[in-house]
Amino acid sequence: MKFLSDSAIERLRGSAGAPDLSGTRYRLLDRIARGGMGIVYTAQDEQLERRVALKILEGSGANGDFANRLIREARVLAALEHPGIVPVHDVGTLADGRVFYAMKFVEGQRLDKYIEAVASVPDRLRIFLRICDAVAFAHARGVLHRDLKPANIMVGPFGEVLVMDWGLAKILSSEVSGASCENDPEATIFEKPKQLATAAGETTEISVVTGHGTVMGTPGYMSPEQARGDVEHLDARSDIFSLGALLQFLVTGHPEPVPQSGRPHLDKSLAAICSKATADLPAGRYLNVQGMALDVSRYLDGLAVGAHEESIFEKAARFYRRYRFFILLIAAYLAMRVLILLFMHR
């Protein structure tokens, strides 16, 4: 029996462990990331001569639940055509039995890395608004992301913002609109578990993938109800909690409120937006992403935000901040008039 050197074993592990792309239009280039259920590689699409990203399940179809989740993620992405959501090109099963999907290769940085170079709060808020656009679009299509966090947001070289990793996405009932949710904050807006066809023609229940009592998400960004595994009662406000934590991260560097001592002062209006979005009870949060985005936009425009009731002094300070140029111009004009009058009466 042939002796295998250490380097031969490593080579075997690498080559046999790498996805077998024979029979596909892709040529493997490099491994770029590893997620909860799959590895992301870059590959060359030989037909269209472009680089793509391939998300490939770990292990050949042995775990049906994960295969279903990956297929489901690809289908969710395919249903969400939006500039802020990474587009999916292809889905299938490789010759080695592993399930994969191909998506746009995003050359950029993760949000947490990107903002290290973005010092201005307004610039960070503008990025946040683009994230809100994509999430609001998904909600309008009946999809919850459920894992919004800086690591799942990519910012491209031209400032384009893309929401990635929809592996934990939950499909809401298309019949249930945001309005009914507003009327009944405690309403369960998920469909009952239904049959999901797999690539192999088998069927399985979605509840197996994201069943009641299963905790999936990221601590710090996960809503309390999601952390409890209360999957059936999750709605758009769970993502709003995550967006609140994301906003908090963008302006303070932490997803949760931190003591202000030694840290830059966080504006009360901005703190109130974060606080409302991350309220413990869903009923205390924004009803939809548009509401939250509107408050952030109003803050950027120097207007009053719905999340914070201002005192007369705060109103005056905000009025001053917003119209500082005109106020200073008028003040300068008046000062000049006074000086002229004084000069003429001398």
């Binding site: 029996m1 050197s5 031969a8 074993i9 075997l12 491994r31 590893r34």
Partner: protein
């Protein structure tokens, strides 16, 4: 492995056989013996090298202890006591080896045994040669993690070597001996400078043919290795974990 094991005709490997643990607990003595042979084929080299390294035994003593260990595994029905939910089979066997060597020391005995595993050829000379070729960091010898690591590495080497041997037979049976030679040259011999282009010139075939041949060989190797691995695991859970570790799925 016998030729018949692969089945006549068809392109696929035989379906997964039952776990060695299940077979070892069978009431059929023939099946039990087969299970031990299977276990022995995969583990004798790691056990021998481990006794040589961990217990610092001379070659002859280590040979006796290795044969004695597998004989005891059958005699004392040690596999019956293995609980897949509590540990991995590999760890259990390593602990059994440690207990066995210590007990042998206490009893002050060293018997020549091995009748029950006579069907497996134990090429100790080759194992000695391999041991000499294996890089061991003397600074790590005392650490328990390094013992586990050493045993795991040798077990992986043994598993992959068996799978390579199976692949060679499998390729021969399907008139794909050249495919195996390409695989051997590119993936096993460790020549970093060898390219697909060079192989296509050496064998007078197109680069696409080289690519396809290597893809086939790797796919089959992976399947064969996983098949062997499944047999050698105590549970499906253990198999999933071991498969991940064997192919580096959790490496990054």
């Amino acid at each position: 492995m016998d030729k018949e094991d692969f089945g006549a005709g068809g392109d696929r490997f035989p379906p997964t056989r039952r776990s060695v643990i299940e077979a070892a607990r069978s009431i059929d003595s023939g099946e039990r013996e087969q299970a031990l042979e299977l276990l022995c084929a995969a583990y004798w080299k790691p056990v021998y090298k481990y006794i040589r390294w961990r217990w610092n035994r001379p070659a002859e003593a280590a040979q006796d202890l290795t044969q004695g260990f597998f004989a005891e595994l059958l005699e004392r029905e040690l596999l019956d006591k293995f609980d897949a939910s509590r540990s991995r089979l590999r760890t259990y066997l390593r602990v059994c080896v440690d207990s066995f060597v210590m007990n042998e020391d206490k009893a002050g005995r060293r018997q020549k045994r091995g009748g029950s595993i006579s069907h497996v050829a134990l090429d100790f000379a080759a194992a000695e040669e391999e041991l000499g070729a294996t890089a061991i960091d003397p600074a790590k010898i005392a650490s328990p993690e390094s013992l586990e690591e050493f045993f795991e590495k040798e077990w992986m080497r043994s598993l992959f070597a068996l799978a390579v041997e199976d692949l060679r037979k499998f390729s021969d049976e399907r008139d794909r001996a050249r495919t195996f030679r390409l695989f051997e040259a590119y993936d096993l011999e460790g020549n970093e400078k060898l390219s697909y282009d060079q192989l296509s010139k050496d064998y007078g075939i197109s680069v696409t043919d080289v690519t396809n041949a290597l893809a086939w060989a790797r796919r089959e190797f992976r399947r064969i290795a996983l098949d062997r691995l499944r047999e050698l695991c105590g549970s499906e859970d253990e198999f999933q974990r071991e498969a991940g570790a064997a192919f580096g799925w959790d490496a990054k």
